[in-house]
Symmetry: C2
């Protein structure tokens, strides 16, 4: 390995002294850089908190509208490539009327996903939640215990049900929900929080677009907007780091088209 020049006697000591002094100076300079990094993080956190508050009423309004669409959430889930549901889970989730993702005030510390169910043959719970506390020295997640109706425990039915899309990968929706072994790498929770929740419409529309469900497809027209405007494209690149709002342009359903075909 490369070594400092002057490798014997007093010269060596002098070199070492100088190096040692320089290392200390670098370290103290680095501390100032680190302090700035910390301040930057704090300011960014404040911005994120501010916009979380500003977004909240829109997410609530969106949830109100979503409740007017039968099977919205189960459709979005089924269409998401990383979510696997077996048939009985899919039946159960047709009764999922509301989904909520709440980030904790200190965004980095964790979040909570609430699943609100209408009266259904499977669950007694009206709401089940899974929450993640990731800011702790020992991160943890916890889930509401599920009160299954008699003989309806879907975690016990998994072996019998015919899998729709590789159920072994996810191990079943409710098995995922109840599993809190590894809170820091819960991919399904992250998919719900970072992908489905920021823009569920794109996943709801995916199937109608893809055309498995012919009846529904006939009467719903999806218009794909081509963004040819270069300025608009540049703006999009500017904000590409935000992993929310993706795919929105493509999933746009125009009001005029809707009235034409639906009426």
């Amino acid at each position: 390995m490369a070594k400092p020049s002057g490798s014997n006697g007093d010269d060596q000591s002098a070199t070492d002294m100088e190096t040692q002094k320089a290392l200390v100076d670098i370290d103290s300079c680095q501390n100032e850089i680190d302090a700035l990094n910390e301040k930057a993080s704090e300011e960014i956190l404040l911005v994120e908190q501010k916009y979380n508050k500003l977004r909240k009423p829109f997410f609530e309004k969106r949830n109100e509208i979503i409740m007017r669409i039968p099977n919205f959430w189960v459709t979005a889930f089924v269409n998401h490539p990383q979510i696997q549901l077996d048939e009985s889970e899919e039946d159960c989730l047709t009764h999922l009327k509301k989904l909520e993702v709440e980030e904790f005030e200190d965004i980095k510390s964790g979040y909570k996903i609430n699943f609100h169910f209408e009266e259904n043959p499977f669950l007694k719970n009206e709401v089940i939640s899974k929450e993640f506390h990731l800011g702790l020295s020992d991160p943890l997640s916890s889930s509401t215990p599920i009160n299954w109706k008699e003989g309806q425990d879907l975690t016990k039915k998994n072996g019998n049900a015919k899998g729709r899309k590789r159920p072994h990968e996810m191990g079943g929706f409710f098995s995922w929900f109840l599993n809190n072994d590894d809170p820091c790498s819960d991919e399904i929770a992250e998919v719900i929080k970072d992908d489905i929740w920021p823009n569920p419409l794109q996943y709801y529309l995916m199937e109608l677009d893809g055309g498995e469900d012919e009846d529904a497809e006939e009467d719903i027209v999806i218009m794909e907007e081509q963004e040819e405007d270069e300025e608009a494209n540049d703006e999009e690149e500017l904000i590409e780091d935000e992993d929310v709002g993706e795919g929105d342009e493509e999933a746009y359903a125009s009001e005029e088209e809707a009235e034409k075909s639906g009426g």
Copy 2:
């Protein structure tokens, strides 16, 4: 798949109309959320730009100090687990006196890495730069052409030199430097920008700590500070998302210890 209830005649039409209307409403709500996301991104960009400016003088000061330490950069590079140098490259990089990473004003649009060399037997260039323009619709990177001294082209010597650590993975430092085939997934450039540049001291010290270089090690004492204070730990967790400043606490060389052992 789950379907909307009421699947024939006028009921069906009415349901579809209602669903269609709701989809349009969700889309318009989603547009408002997206606009907020965009605003949040812009504000975060402003914070990042501000702190980039504030950090700059400290990075410059750090570079001045680093130049007092022989072989600082080559040592940091050799010690980094993702950087592979063969022996002649290592010899060449002992003449690398200054490294700079400049993020462009619009941080997301790209960055430039400058390598400053002292007079040496390999390169005629004093500075070679590799820069990344990632905000373009067609991202690109470019490198300063290297003026090798007679018979010293290290990209042609690679086959002969004995590899120090799996040189096939990186394909040689200068081959990496000159290769601009895939600017969006240049792992080495990202290692330099996001890992080495934010805190090079930890990599410089790694080897001295590990003890390959006994002469130097004898006279340099690295003190590992144990952060037992719980409050300090909590603060660190708060800013863990910033991928800069890591390992700084561990790489601390105390001034008193240095004087004691060096004098």
